[in-house]
């Protein structure tokens, strides 16, 4: 015991020393460079650009910190609470923006550095998501957006006797009700394969096509109990779930990776950033089996992030310059061509190189054109300040339907009740 404890204290002291000394070295007394840390989650595709920025700015050294989605945002909250530890430039996903906007005094107002001049760079709604209601406080500069499409397995569709051509598949499901009917046809023909990945992802995609979800855009009041869009999304997704047509796997999880690799489901709604995830989960063995087509309901955005600058950083001006450069249309375009994150700047997603992009992994689907079209027609949705409190209740309710514990109506009633209780 004592031996172990002394080992731990030695370790602790060494680590503390390393942190202190490392901090000094990083400060650049020897190199004379300003270190800007850029924290992102998942796949932003920034690293190849860093060397170029450093070449253009000899006094700057860029450092990447990449972590997983949950850990990244919780880590940012903890660092803001503790007063130090946040990176200089931090990515924030759109669902977290309202939450961090409430604590905007912990962030640099990018308008102070002239961010307002960049406004025309983004679609109006994307810009609006990153600023305070009156537009005076600029919290973040938009990076990508999650234009929606549907990914489907050509081979499994062929087995089910359904068309495999992406234009014909698109004609199968102009609406989500049609999508549910295709699910029935598919399941009748191929009972050993599920039609979709999870009820949650169908539900989220439908919700992302309506302007209001759980809270009213006008006054932020709770409308989940009488918003017909929400009920419709819940009923369609829940109906598919109740028939056992979902594989019950959540995106990002190990089970989802396995299911993609094994081909246990045939369709999934895939925002642009998800293509990379499918590619790495499916591996070479599944190349050419997937294809991309338009999503039922025809548009929608899911996900998409912003670059923010927390106040606790030592070099806000330099950090802003980095964020500005990384989110400029030119860079957004290059990121799309390299890793597939859809630009949120019209100048970038309307670029011929972007529109012309096809993806060999997805049967040479014209992903550039599909996503650019969905970006042009999408209607952004309003997220209330308490969105993160209420949203999970409905996701869990769908989980209960998938597990066969409750009917769609029972699950709905319980979710509404839980949401009301949580808002008290």
């Amino acid at each position: 015991m004592t031996r172990r404890r002394s080992l731990w204290s030695v370790l602790a002291v060494t680590t503390a020393l390393a942190v202190v000394l490392g901090g000094c070295a990083g400060g650049g007394a020897d190199s004379g460079k300003i270190v800007i840390k850029v924290a992102t989650f998942g796949e932003f595709g920034y690293e190849p650009l860093f060397a170029e920025y450093e070449a253009q700015h000899p006094n700057i050294h860029l450092e990447a910190q990449v972590s997983d989605f949950e850990a990244h945002h919780k880590g940012l909250a903890t660092a803001l609470a503790g007063g130090h530890g946040a990176a200089d430039v931090v990515a924030v996903e759109e669902q977290y923006m309202p939450q961090f906007m409430q604590s905007k005094d912990k962030f640099v107002n990018l308008a102070d550095f002239g961010a307002q001049d960049l406004k025309s760079q983004w679609s109006d709604w994307k810009w609006a998501q990153g600023v305070s209601k009156d537009g005076s406080f600029v919290l973040g500069l938009g990076t990508d957006m999650g234009g929606l499409a549907t990914c489907y397995r050509r081979d499994l569709f062929a087995r089910a006797g359904l068309p495999t051509d992406r234009a014909e598949v698109a004609r199968l499901w102009p609406t989500w009700e049609d999508y549910a009917r295709v699910a029935d046809r598919f399941s009748a023909a191929v009972p050993d394969v599920k039609f979709a990945d999870s009820a949650g992802s169908i539900y989220t995609a439908i919700l992302n096509q309506s302007e209001e979800n759980f809270f009213a855009k006008a006054d932020d009041s709770f409308i989940a109990d009488h918003n017909p869009n929400l009920r419709r999304a819940f009923d369609i997704a829940g109906g598919i779930a109740a028939k056992g047509q979902t594989a019950r796997v959540t995106t990002y999880t190990q089970a989802w990776n396995v299911a993609v690799k094994q081909g246990t489901f045939a369709t999934m709604n895939c925002p642009a950033w998800m293509l990379e995830q499918i590619r790495s989960a499916g591996g070479d063995a599944n190349a050419g089996k997937w294809d991309v087509t338009t999503v039922p309901g025809n548009s929608g955005s899911q996900g998409g992030s912003f670059l923010t600058v927390p106040k606790q950083g030592a070099h806000p001006r330099e950090a802003y310059d980095v964020a500005k450069w990384l989110t400029a249309p030119e860079q957004q375009k290059r990121i799309f061509l390299q890793s597939g994150s859809l630009p949120s700047a019209p100048a970038a997603y309307k670029d011929p190189a972007v529109i012309g992009k096809t993806d060999p992994y997805f049967s040479n689907a014209p992903v550039g054109q599909i996503y650019a079209t969905s970006a042009d027609t999408l209607r952004p949705n309003y997220r209330g300040t308490k969105d993160s409190v209420v949203r999970p209740k409905f996701g869990q309710a769908l989980g209960r339907v998938e597990e066969g514990k409750q009917t769609v109506d029972q699950a709905w009633a319980e979710a509404v009740q839980q949401a009301r209780d949580a808002l008290k």
């Binding site: 204290s9 997983d68 949950e70 850990a71 919780k74 909250a77 903890t78 803001l80 609470a81 939450q99 961090f100 409430q102 604590s103 912990k106 949650g200 594989a247 019950r248 796997v249 959540t250 990002y252 999880t253 190990q254 089970a255 396995v258 299911a259 094994q262 246990t264 993160s388 409190v389 999970p392 996701g395 869990q396 309710a397 769908l398 989980g399 209960r400 998938e402 597990e403 066969g404 514990k405």
Partner: protein, 327 residues
């Protein structure tokens, strides 16, 4: 050993000082006395400094936070007294988490300690390559808890899990381990058992080595069977160690977090299943504090958990003493 010797020293010093009234000697005497009085405390000071910084201070600070409406990022939003506790004691989700924690704790600790006792008894006998076996039982404990949770999560997976496959061989229908309350508790308890049984059996083994061998000889002369001498000689002989492992396992069990958190099929943002069927108290704390940024409420949960830990340790201790008295 050293405190004893130090404490005898001061009594010797004054006698010598009385004989030498010179100033230098007196100063030396004062210094020596000071040395004797203060040095021992200096030697143990690092522990108390660390304990204060990392133990007492967070505990008190958490208590302070729990009396406020405290948002994780924005900090103090005003004093609310015991409101967080009042809300907590009326919160069905909290009782659900408490029940799950107790259930998983019992499902894991009881078999774990019994198995550890059995393994230790086997290892205590003359064995070929005994060290290898003894080191081997500790191996599961060295593996990172995250790796354990991921691997067992796969083993207990609904569609491609090994456990369901094996059950299928003996004609049992596949179990949806994550969806129902009891199966999920069993799966999580299995991870805990796998990880800690070897650790506890090494503790028991060390204790068994100190049971006087004459007692076994006497028992053998009296015609006791191996089983009888195990229950009547070995187990009473290592009772303090058993009490220790029960207390440590209780505290560990009540703070269970990583295994159930990573077992959740909806990812690390999950709440322990679609119906909170395996959400433990610590997971609930994490949900409130780091998911919803309600630090005040999370602090209240932390304090209630602390009190529950102390109470269970006391109950354990009392039970163990009664058993000793009864035996």
């Amino acid at each position: 050993m050293s405190p004893l010797r130090v404490s005898t020293a001061p009594s010797r010093q004054p006698a010598r000082a009385d004989r030498g009234p010179a100033d230098g000697a007196r100063r030396r005497w004062v210094l020596t006395r000071l040395d004797n009085r203060v040095t021992p405390f200096l030697f143990i000071a690092p522990f108390f400094v660390l304990f204060t910084v990392f133990g007492v201070f967070p505990l008190l600070y958490t208590a302070w936070v729990s009396l406020h409406d405290w948002q994780l990022i924005d900090g103090d939003q005003g004093f609310v007294g015991l409101a967080n506790y009042a809300k907590l004691f009326a919160d069905p989700d909290f009782y659900n988490a408490l029940f799950n924690t107790m259930s998983i704790f019992l499902l894991s600790t009881v078999p774990q300690l019994l198995a550890a006792l059995g393994i230790a008894a086997l290892l205590d006998r003359p064995l070929r390559a005994g060290t290898v076996w003894r080191a081997g039982v500790l191996l599961p404990n060295v593996v990172s808890v995250v790796a354990v949770a991921l691997v067992f999560g796969q083993l207990f997976a609904r569609d491609f899990g090994v456990v369901n496959w094996v059950l299928g061989l003996v004609g049992v229908d596949p179990v949806d381990w994550g969806a129902q309350r009891l199966p999920s508790h069993v799966a999580i308890a299995t991870m805990v058992i796998w990880r800690w049984t070897g650790y506890n059996s090494l503790l028991y083994l060390a204790a068994m080595r100190n049971v006087p061998r004459e007692l076994y000889e006497a028992a053998a002369l009296d015609g006791a069977s191996r089983w009888r001498s195990f229950w009547s000689v070995t187990v009473p002989g290592i009772r303090p160690t058993i009490i220790f492992t029960v207390v440590v396992s209780t505290i560990g069990g009540l703070q269970l977090f990583a295994e159930p958190q990573l077992f959740d099929a909806s990812g690390t943002a999950g709440v322990g299943g679609s119906d909170r069927q395996f959400q433990t108290v610590t997971m609930y704390l994490y949900e409130k504090g780091f998911g919803l940024f309600d630090a005040g409420y999370a602090a209240a949960i932390a304090w209630v958990l602390f009190v529950v830990c102390v109470l269970s340790a006391l109950v354990n201790f009392w039970l163990a003493r009664r058993i000793r008295a009864g035996g």
